[in-house]
């Protein structure tokens, strides 16, 4: 008998379906993958199970009893636990306080700190989840926070553990370690649901997989006897065409972009420092776990934050103290990792968003006035070239899909053929079709002679596109290596901050 059965679950937000007649069945003692693209409805389904959202229709059965959860409190009482992709820990509380938050024990209403810490230490020992129960959560690294989240579930004696994209913040080695721990839990009779969009992860570590696409459940299969190709077809509804990166002859002249002893302030007051140089027609990938100073580095490079020391040279021009507008005029295009916050004005239309560049570099302005005719012509051209789907040029960006929004960001940054493109997680949150599009565009720019600094936490993306790979850890570059026959294990170690033999550049 399955421990958990979700039947014909429907849920819509503002009139659009997030889940439509979704079915999921989880057995006792299995690692069950929930596979699907971004926006396929995986997280919504699990939030319904966890009591965060109320379903519109359908039924949930646990151990043969039909249940209705009004809030996570009810789900916790039924021994269901969930680790959200964006961790739900209070940064100003200690590890122990976060783990025991909302629980009642024999000392209620007083906090029995010592007893709780001892309990947590016992748990962390027996599952190999190293932590310090009296430390404030804001002082932890992302990996440690995840361990705390998992301890939180174990402390609450969860029998069904839900993890949303748990490997997104881990190095390959840490991921293996995580799945080894899941096997231990599985042996103890727990069921584990892993939300993911990585097919290889499913094949390597999970027992069964349920594939979701566009809010519907496609099917549930055993991972034995299925291959990556079949799974990806189920996931995206068509066969995946791998993006091809052709060899490019690099011009050996001076670098287009050079960072010399470039120091930047990281969140929390630490200072990072890097040396990097990019040549024409080259993609330099920076691999690293999220939160190792990537955002601060790029924002400092764009002049959005004050830089500490060192210099930036773009095309023989020292732009160390230039304003952001001057940097862009020098030929740098910037694709931010958060397009809603940094790249677009969501309430403006396509045409207006295309104008968000230094005025001198556009042809759509005359003096200080906007030439409306020119602006609309430009927008029409871009929409056609980048096949952006919208209901007209004036439609607010808010109503476009993530893929179409990102296409517009790319289009805007590519106008006026920049010499350097800084692409920060350019495919974050995009579906596979849009990801392919972005990858092909970046490669097209490379063929056109543009130098690209690609920063991504997605190692597959880095390996696919980069000519050279630099690994960032704690705000400094661990090593830079040519992207041919790279050793993934070594990159993983570098991402974790371990320098191996022969790690010289």
């Amino acid at each position: 008998m399955p421990v958990l059965e979700m039947k014909d679950i429907c849920k819509s937000f503002f009139g659009t379906y997030a889940n439509r007649d979704v079915c999921l069945e989880v057995r006792e003692g299995e690692i069950h993958a929930l596979l699907g693209e971004n926006g396929a409805g995986k997280t919504t389904l699990m939030n319904i199970l966890y009591g965060m959202y109320q379903k519109d229709a359908g039924s949930i059965t646990i151990d043969g009893h039909e249940i209705v959860f009004k809030s996570p409190k009810d789900a916790i009482a039924r021994h269901i636990g969930m680790v959200h992709q964006h961790f739900t820990l209070v940064p100003t509380l200690t590890v122990q306080q976060n783990i025991t938050l909302g629980l009642r024990d024999s000392g209620y209403p007083f906090s029995r700190e010592r007893a709780r810490c001892e309990h947590i230490d016992r748990l962390s020992d027996s599952y190999g989840l190293k932590t310090h129960s009296r430390t404030l959560v804001k002082k932890l690294s992302v990996g440690e926070m995840q361990r705390v989240e998992i301890l939180k579930l174990l402390y609450r004696k969860a029998k069904i553990l839900i993890l949303d994209e748990p490997t997104a913040v881990l190095t390959p080695q840490e991921s293996d370690h995580l799945f080894a721990m899941f096997k231990q839990l599985k042996a103890e009779g727990c069921s584990i649901i892993v939300i993911t969009h990585h097919i290889q992860e499913v094949l390597d570590h999970c027992d069964r997989v349920t594939v979701l696409r566009d809010g519907c459940s496609i099917s549930t299969v055993e991972t034995k006897g299925i291959d990556a190709k079949q799974l990806s077809t189920m996931m995206i509804g068509r066969e995946l065409v791998p993006v091809a990166r052709e060899r490019q002859n690099h011009h050996m002249d001076a670098p287009v972009l050079e960072l010399v002893d470039f120091g930047f302030k990281r969140n929390g007051g630490k200072v990072g420092s890097v040396n990097l140089s990019l040549k024409q027609s080259e993609i330099l990938g920076i691999a690293g776990v999220d939160g190792n100073g990537q955002k601060e580095l790029l924002e400092t490079l764009m002049g959005l934050r004050h830089h500490e020391k060192g210099k930036v040279v773009c095309c023989q021009q020292d732009i160390s103290n230039a304003s952001t507008a001057e940097r862009r005029l020098a030929g740098i295009g910037y694709i931010s990792d958060d397009r809603h916050r940094d790249s677009l004005v969501l309430d403006m239309g396509i045409a207006e968003n295309l104008l968000l560049r230094p005025a001198q570099s556009t042809t759509t302005t005359q003096g200080r006035m906007v030439n409306k005719q020119c602006m609309l012509e430009q927008a029409t051209r871009v929409v056609k070239e980048f096949s952006i789907k919208s209901h007209g040029l004036q439609e607010p960006m808010r109503f476009l899909s993530g893929g179409n929004q990102q296409k517009l960001v790319l289009a805007r940054e590519f106008i006026g053929s920049p010499k350097v493109i800084i692409a920060f997680q350019p495919t974050r949150g995009l579906d596979i079709g849009a990801t392919e599009f972005v990858h092909n565009q970046l490669l097209a720019m490379r063929s056109a002679g543009c130098a690209t600094l690609l920063v991504s936490t997605n190692l597959e993306e880095i390996l696919l596109l980069s000519d050279r790979i630099a690994v960032i850890h704690e705000g400094s570059i661990m090593a830079t290596i040519e992207n041919k026959a790279v050793d993934i294990t070594r990159i993983g170690l570098l991402m974790a901050g371990v320098k191996t033999e022969g790690a010289a550049r």
Partner: protein, 310 residues
């Protein structure tokens, strides 16, 4: 007067001035810790002051009067909580509107009850309650233990609140709800319930602070009797960094300034008394300047919690 007597009465007066600020400030800090920013402390105090006075005036019972003061404060804080939680209204605007509402409402009801009078209707005030033995300690006994019930009550509340904030699960829950409501929700806490409970304490304590003004300090009510004390209490919350003893300290500093200016006004210096009346407010601004840059607001302060928000 002998210098020691001057100092003793000054300190005793400072404490009495600080009580309403400390009580209302403590209430507001509980509310703010949970993420509810209620700038309507003035409204809470004004209602507390009015209703406690009315009940003492008509029944003569201080017990019922104190109860009425708490209920008056509660009515305002719960209205604020209801609008902010249930309807996700802008908390600052609601608080501001309530301040004017309470000002108009209490003045209107007061006029309705007594009409235009030349002499203010008054009641007897709650007397001092010296604690046996302790009150005979020199200096400290005079300053601390020869006070009225509200002084002891306030000190007790501070100690209880300190224990609650830092030693109990409720304190941790309160903190979590104000800092990261999603985390609190996923951990199984009822975010809205906890915020309503915080508003409850805010109303009770603020109402007591208001009641103190009418039935302990003055014995009468008049239009706008709080005269900005609610806003000063908000300052005490910030100065005291939302810790019970910090708020008590801040209230004592401001209360001391108030006691000092009253003494200076009557000292016959020839300086216009209005200048002295500005003194507590200048102190407040100066103290706020000193704390610039050390903001430690709860991360979700003033932000409604919406689970379905995507």
């Amino acid at each position: 007067m002998e210098p020691i007597v001057v100092v003793t009465t000054f300190f005793a007066a400072s404490i009495r001035m600080a009580i309403p600020l400390a009580l209302a400030g403590l209430g507001e800090s509980i509310s703010e810790k949970s993420g509810l920013l209620n700038i309507g402390v003035e409204a809470i105090m004004l209602c507390g002051a009015f209703f406690s006075f009315m009940v003492v005036f008509s029944t003569g019972s201080f017990f019922l009067g104190i109860l009425a003061g708490m209920l008056g404060g509660l009515s305002m804080s719960m209205l604020h909580a209801f609008l902010s939680i249930r309807f996700k209204a802008n908390q600052t605007i609601v608080g501001l509107a309530q301040n004017f509402l309470a000002l108009g409402l209490t003045s209107f009801l007061f006029l309705m009850s007594f009409g235009q009078t030349t002499t203010l209707p008054s009641t007897r005030v709650l007397g001092d309650l010296p604690i046996p033995l302790l009150s005979s300690i020199p200096f400290i006994g005079q300053v601390l233990f020869s006070q009225n019930l509200f002084v002891y009550l306030t000190l007790g509340c501070m100690v209880l609140a300190h224990i609650c904030f830092y030693k109990t699960d409720f304190g941790v829950a309160l903190h979590a709800v104000g800092e990261h409501p999603i985390a609190a929700d996923t951990a199984g806490l009822q975010v809205h319930t906890i915020r309503y409970i915080a508003a409850l304490f805010n109303g009770i304590l603020g109402g007591l602070g208001g009641a103190y003004l009418t039935i302990v300090k003055l014995g009468f009510f008049q239009e706008n009797i709080t005269a900005g004390k609610g806003y000063i209490a908000l300052v005490a919350v910030i100065l005291g960094k939302r810790t019970p003893f910090g708020i008590l300290g801040a209230a004592l500093v401001i209360g001391g300034a108030e006691a000092l200016q009253i003494r200076l006004q009557t000292a016959g210096t020839g300086i216009p008394s209005q200048l002295f009346a500005m003194f507590p407010y200048l102190m407040t601004i100066a103290a706020l300047l000193l704390t610039i840059g050390s903001a430690n607001d709860p991360a979700a302060l003033g932000i409604p919690y919406d689970r379905d928000k995507r």
